[in-house]
């Protein structure tokens, strides 16, 4: 069984392996970075380090919403990079058996489908497991878009 952190985005539940999650924080103040990628809200200070805050709604092509008290910054640390993901909310921690994660169906369309590693079904609940490398690589979007055309 592998531990996962779950978060919500536009009514859907996503999961990331907890080994890649450094911490989860309330979002106070984001300093916007001029001329940055539209999905980059700006930079925040986390444990003395200046890291980008990536808005996952924008990244996945959903409508942007105002931040509220439930909004969270999921700080991803994959060993080489530290990036904050701005999500609607995050408060669950579960264990998932690796065999219950299935590859995403080919038919799954929409931008967010390109960033999935697989889909886990637990007690009738569907959890989309993120491929973090694809999420953090902004060039990936271009490639993915090219593939679909």
């Amino acid at each position: 069984m592998e531990p996962f952190i779950l978060f919500e985005l536009a009514g859907t539940t996503y999961g990331v392996r907890s080994e890649f999650v450094q911490q989860i924080e309330m979002i106070d103040d984001v300093a916007s970075v001029p001329n940055a990628h539209p999905a980059v809200e700006g930079v925040v200070l986390v444990r003395g380090q200046v890291i980008p805050a990536l808005n996952l709604r924008t990244r996945f092509g959903f409508d942007k919403v105002e931040r509220n008290l439930r909004s969270r910054l999921v700080v991803i640390n994959n060993g080489s990079r530290v990036v904050g993901l701005v999500v609607d909310t995050a408060r669950e921690f579960i264990k998932i058996a690796p065999e219950s994660i299935e590859p995403p169906p080919e038919a799954l369309t929409g931008l967010s489908g390109k960033y999935l590693e697989g889909i886990a079904s637990i007690n009738e609940r569907m959890i989309l497991v993120l491929n973090l490398d694809a999420v953090l690589d902004l060039d990936y979007e271009v490639e993915a878009a090219l593939e679909t055309t």
């Binding site: 990628h37 700006g42 200046v50 890291i51 990036v83 953090l136």
Partner: protein, 633 residues
């Protein structure tokens, strides 16, 4: 590696190897330094014994530690070098030019062998070099009267009435000296009590006995110390005392710097709270606190400076490396080059040194390959046959200034322009000033390197040099004159971590501007700006100052008010005014790097925090100016 080695010992061995490479680097630096000194002593009988001792010791150590890590090629090579040194030390062979070449080539190979191991590449063969060193060790004959090395002597002659009576005067002495050697210098000197004497510098292979016979005629001989006409600056050979030197990982120093940075921020917070307190309490309450706060500020500054000093290394080590590159390249290209070093003791942050190595190497290689002419060309132009390459460093306030100057042919503007237009680059006007020329040769893809250089995979383009320097918060300038030479001037911050900054505000967002980039702050009314072609300008000190609106460069949807502040940046002729809403204040900031590519942006050098956990971006003034130039076209 041996499969049966357990994991933890593998890790241990890696750690051990890291130490080995670090120690090799230290000794190779010492060796290079000693070789530079030795080069002047070729064919003389006056080799400094201490230099030989140090060299011998370094080779001996390298031999030992290479054996310990099982790097046999390095061990053997160091052994042969050590053997040759032993003979030199004992005086049984004289250091001649070919011996020195063998020594220098042996050291290069040793360095290659060690680097090959470090980079997991094939270890170069050492067979030929070992044979060459062995020959040098056994064949060069010792100093004899008939086959003596050329020695420089300083001779003093004091005329007296007695000597004059015997027909010995300054002219006869001069004639006799010219018979036995080459007279390099002759000048009268005034000794105490108005007595006149003559001093000669003689270069001769005559032995001691010949010279002794001159002494009866009132000549005093002594070995000449230094060639006063050549201006080569010799570095003293420093010995490293291992017992008092601690090697520290740069990461640990970074961590220390980070903690100090946090302390600086905490104190800023304390100062803010004190300001609050001052409003509501009488001075008797807050004054002692205020004094304590000032005390902490002072102590923090001391602490910071101490830690910074630990990070500082003399730039001389880098310069010495360059002299070797120059020597090898000059020989390959059939050029004669004198390297002048100065300010080698100037200290610079270790972090910066490492990142400056490649750019400096590139500039030095360029100067040798393309700047300085061949001996024949130089003679034809009436220049000294020996080209001059000078490397100098000095500190200017919080910055270090490095100059790389050659007296070669200079950069041919017309040729650069030709190349540029051949590649379809917009060269603008044909009257290129030095700054424009530098911009042009720094255009990616516009290389003046020849095919041979490219084939050997040498170096990086000028564009990479310029970028590397600007990434470090530095600047580079060019001054070149056809036929006379080229000078590159590089200015860098001494260290990166903490800086004085102006905090400005644009559309409610705060930005920090390094104070060192700002010459003056102006308050401007919007009615006093003019538009000339595409440029917004104001008048400043009787001249025209182009205005750069930060909001516009950053594509913020915001217009300046009736009154705004302008930061004057840049040198006289290319000064630019950076327009912001207003200046909030001046602060000491802790510079934090923005490491993730998602958050990097041109015009932003880093980020800082002012005590309220909110990030403030630090502007990169030189990048902003570039952005502005681009947006104008």
């Amino acid at each position: 590696m041996d499969k049966s080695t357990p994991d933890n010992s593998g890790e241990f061995f890696d750690q051990f190897l890291d130490d080995y490479y670090a120690e090799c680097d230290e000794h190779l630096v010492l060796i290079r330094r000693a070789l530079v000194t030795l080069e002047d002593e070729v064919d003389t009988a006056t080799i400094d014994r201490a230099v030989l001792d140090n060299l011998f010791r370094s080779f001996h150590t390298l031999k030992g530690i290479s054996g310990m890590v099982g790097l046999g090629a390095a061990e053997q090579l160091a052994h042969h070098l050590e053997s040759y040194l032993r003979e030199l030390r004992e005086g049984s062979v004289v250091l001649n030019a070919s011996g020195f070449e063998s020594l220098a080539a042996g050291v290069s190979l040793l360095e290659n062998v060690i680097n090959a191991r470090r980079n997991d590449q094939a270890i170069p063969s050492i067979g030929d070099m070992a044979a060459r060193l062995q020959t040098a060790t056994t064949s060069a004959p010792a100093d004899t009267e008939n086959n003596a090395a050329i020695t420089r002597w300083q001779i003093e002659f004091t005329p007296t009435a007695d000597l004059a009576a015997r027909g010995v005067n300054v002219n006869s002495v001069r004639a006799r000296l010219q018979e036995i050697g080459e007279l390099k210098q002759a000048k009268p000197i005034v000794k105490g009590a108005g007595e006149i004497a003559f001093q000669f510098i003689l270069s001769t292979n005559a032995g001691q006995t010949t010279l002794k016979s001159f002494e009866v005629d009132g000549l005093v001989f002594q070995a000449a110390e230094e060639d006063a006409t050549a201006q080569k600056i010799r570095q003293p050979v420093a010995t490293l005392a291992p017992s008092t030197v601690v090697r520290v990982d740069l990461d640990r120093l970074d961590e220390l710097m980070r903690i100090i940075g946090e302390l600086v921020i905490s104190r800023t917070r304390l100062e803010d709270q004190l300001t609050e307190l001052k409003r509501s309490t009488p001075p008797a309450v807050w004054r002692p606190l205020q004094e304590t706060s000032f005390g902490i500020a002072r102590q923090l500054r001391d602490l910071r400076e101490s830690v910074m000093r630990v990070r500082m290394v003399p730039i001389g080590e880098v310069f010495e490396r360059m002299t070797f590159v120059v020597r090898d390249l000059a020989r390959e290209n059939g050029k004669k080059i004198l390297v002048q070093l100065s300010g080698g003791e100037t200290e610079i942050d270790k972090f910066l040194v490492e990142r400056m190595m490649e750019p400096l190497l590139h500039l030095v290689r360029n100067a040798v390959s393309h700047g300085i002419e061949t001996v024949a060309e130089r003679e034809a132009q009436g220049k000294q046959t020996e080209g001059l390459l000078s490397l100098s460093a000095m500190t200017a306030g919080e910055r270090i200034v490095i100059k790389i100057a050659d007296d070669g042919r200079g950069i041919d503007r017309d040729r650069v322009l030709e190349r540029a237009s051949a590649r379809g680059l917009d060269t603008g006007n044909t009257q290129l000033d030095d700054a424009g020329l530098l911009d042009l040769i720094s255009t990616p893809g516009l290389s003046t390197r020849d095919e041979a250089d490219r084939a050997s995979g040498r170096g990086v383009g000028m564009d990479v040099v310029k970028n590397a320097i600007e990434e470090l918060g530095g600047h580079i300038w060019l001054a070149t004159k056809l036929g006379e030479g080229t000078t590159f001037t590089i200015e860098l911050p001494l260290t990166l971590a903490i800086a004085e900054a102006l905090i400005v505000s644009v559309d409610g967002q705060r930005f920090a501007v390094p104070q060192s980039a700002v010459r003056e702050v102006l308050e401007v009314e919007s009615t006093s700006t003019n538009v000339l072609e595409n440029n917004e300008i104001i008048s400043y000190r009787g001249k025209v100052l182009p205005l750069l609106r930060l909001a516009r460069v950053f594509e913020m949807n915001h217009e300046l008010g009736d009154k705004f502040h302008v930061l004057v940046t840049g040198e006289e002729s290319n000064a630019v005014g950076l327009a912001v809403d207003r200046i909030i204040g001046q602060r000491e900031i802790v510079v934090r790097a923005i490491k993730d590519p998602l958050a990097q942006s041109k015009g932003i050098a880093g980020a800082t925090e002012l005590g309220d956990q909110r990030v403030v971006l630090i502007l990169d003034i030189s990048a902003l100016r570039q952005l502005a130039v681009k947006s104008r076209h």
